[in-house]
Symmetry: C2
Subunit: 378 residues, 2 copies
């Protein structure tokens, strides 16, 4: 199979399970993509990430363009070789990070001028530059360059920003189309729906993207602090306007309950730093709900972190040991809890895929509501 | 094999290769023991430590008594189970750390009162308490409690300190002998020769320890900043006075050239934080000499860290990648360089054992002199 292709396997209500075929391997959907910001999923070796069940990673255009640089990675043979991950990689376009991390941003029709958050160096991102970088990295799924406005904002402000993102989406697609046949072979370009929490803008954005035409469609501008209900409302308004035969990706989301709710609304792909970042902070997702390993009640607890999990943290160590290494600031604490959290997320995706294939997603989601509700008190 | 036993396999000049048999597994000598200070070899999973070739780890009585506490580890089933390392563990007695890390030390004939460097808590270590802690941890090789004086010091000061350490060695052995048969089964107690760089004191100390009688003999009080030549001179004066049929352990040493020189003088066991600590600081030991991965000359170097090494860092990644993750402060940099450095050390020990068994240690050591000399400029 040398082309990019989405195979729908089964649906259950609005939810779907399928397979994305790419030259670098298949991606089982609904899929969770661990975040490999700076060419590493923090604290993990690539083979360990694969062992958790990940089919695809996310790489960050913004971080990689600043360090070590896209041109350098290209000369070294591309991102896959550089970070020793032979399977698919999706790269974002830098639009989100340029807003959240960089200094002295100046947005124009052309693109965004900004200063690197690492060394203050002057940088520039535009649809054309973002697509060039993603080509240099050798990304399998390349995202259009978009503007991510801060929420809350007025309808007029979001409308203006969305319209700019749609013009940028068109330029991004054109830049992607100019990659050589050899470069583009089996690679995909995804559009990103914007429009904040305004349903009318989301619908207009989705229609504009369909008019351009993409191999997949993302919902962007979420996971920026809005309540879960607002995100679900936005998905309810948006997803019906996305083509059924293309993968749908909810960017930057989320907590397990966010993912379950979004899958029920027809989302196929997710990425989030939560499992990795939480792992480095002593937090674990478990079948009993989230646990903070710093808590003194674990100091002499001989039981495994999660008896239903088969990751190394749960198979080899006690909660007492994990508490000890978290309290001691040991590197192995970050390694073990990241490994566990990624395993938890991948097991959740596996269970969701299976539930959809067996037409029992609603009862599965209801059965998981207990640990979902616990999260807010974590 | 249920008893502790040292089997001498071959000698080459003063150097020896052998096997220490213990109920928890065999230790091939000369052996390097990675340091697992706080119940983890920093940045490594135990199975990864084993993959580097380690037969035995070192645990720190001082650190473990303070956090999580020896009583707690005993209730949780002992140190081996706690940290998931089923093979032999040697524990130091805390004598060295109480001098180098703790505050407000007060030494008396009875022992040492001090404050924890973690929380200022008042603590006490004595020969009896140190042996009790090592029993609670379930240590396979337990070290006597000794005083480690700072160097340089006068002959009179070192003599007085050494005499105290010898009285403590006698009390340590008596406390070890009071452990039940079941507890002591297959476990060993090692004496520690003190005496600074004074040959006459080293000889007297060795004789005093032989009089008490131990399963093995360590040379302590080295690796505290003295020149390599002074350490070798001390070994030349000391080792001939140690029993040939017992293992000899040079505590806290050292650089690769230190180890080669000490093996040539008849030392069988080593421990040192150098490979692990260097790994966390971006330093790698290689067959070309030590390399600092922070150096900009590696930024686009596609070659492996050490082409003759088969660890994951060398097999899967380029120097350019290692440079990138070191510069970015990524956890995986510490993991990969620690893994590599421990592999380098274990490969050195394997090569030393083979060279001794084949009666070609002198030519082996001469052939290694190039990378040894490079070290000083690292």
């Amino acid at each position: 199979m040398s082309e990019f292709r989405f195979e729908l396997v089964a649906t259950d209500g609005a939810a779907r399970t399928g397979i994305i075929h790419t030259p670098r391997g298949t991606i089982r959907t609904p899929a969770f993509m661990p975040v490999g910001t700076a060419a590493t999923v923090k604290a993990m070796l690539p083979q360990s990430v694969r062992e958790t069940g990940a089919d695809i990673l996310l790489g960050n255009t913004y971080h990689l363009m600043l360090r070590p640089g896209a041109e350098r990675i290209e000369r070294l043979g591309g991102l896959h070789k550089f970070m020793d991950w032979a399977r698919p990689i999706l790269t974002d376009s830098g639009g989100f990070q340029v807003m959240s991390l960089s200094a002295l941003r100046k947005i124009s029709e052309e693109g965004v001028r900004f200063q690197s958050h690492i060394d203050g160096h002057a940088e520039f991102l535009s649809p054309e530059r973002a697509m060039q970088i993603q080509r240099q990295l050798g990304s399998d799924i390349q995202m259009v360059f978009d503007e991510c406005p801060a929420l809350p904002a007025t309808h007029a402000a979001i409308e203006k920003s969305m319209a700019l993102s749609m013009r940028w989406a068109k330029r991004s697609k054109a830049a992607f189309a100019e990659q050589t046949d050899e470069e583009r072979r089996g690679r995909a370009c995804f559009g990103i729906v914007q429009g904040g929490t305004f349903s009318d803008l989301r619908v207009r954005s989705a229609e504009a993207l369909k008019e351009i035409g993409f191999e997949g469609y993302a919902v962007g501008g979420m996971a920026v602090g809005e309540p879960q209900a607002a995100m679900f409302d936005t998905l309810d308004a948006t997803v019906p306007h996305l083509p059924a035969d293309r993968p749908r990706y909810l960017m930057g989301v989320g907590k397990p309950s966010d993912i379950v709710g979004a899958v029920r609304r027809g989302i196929d792909m997710f990425d989030c730093v939560l499992p990795t970042r939480s792992g480095r902070n002593g937090q674990a997702f478990t079948s009993e709900g989230p646990l903070n390993l710093k808590n003194a009640r674990f100091a002499e607890d001989p039981s495994p972190l999660d008896a239903s999990c088969c990751c190394p943290a749960c198979r080899q160590f006690s909660r007492a040991y994990l508490h000890h290494v978290v309290k001691s600031g040991e590197i192995i604490a970050a390694v073990l809890l990241t490994w566990h959290n990624l395993t938890f997320y991948q097991n959740l995706m596996r269970d969701l895929r299976q539930a959809i294939a067996q037409f029992r997603l609603e009862s599965f989601a209801a059965g998981r509501s207990t640990f979902m509700e616990d999260e807010t008190s974590a």
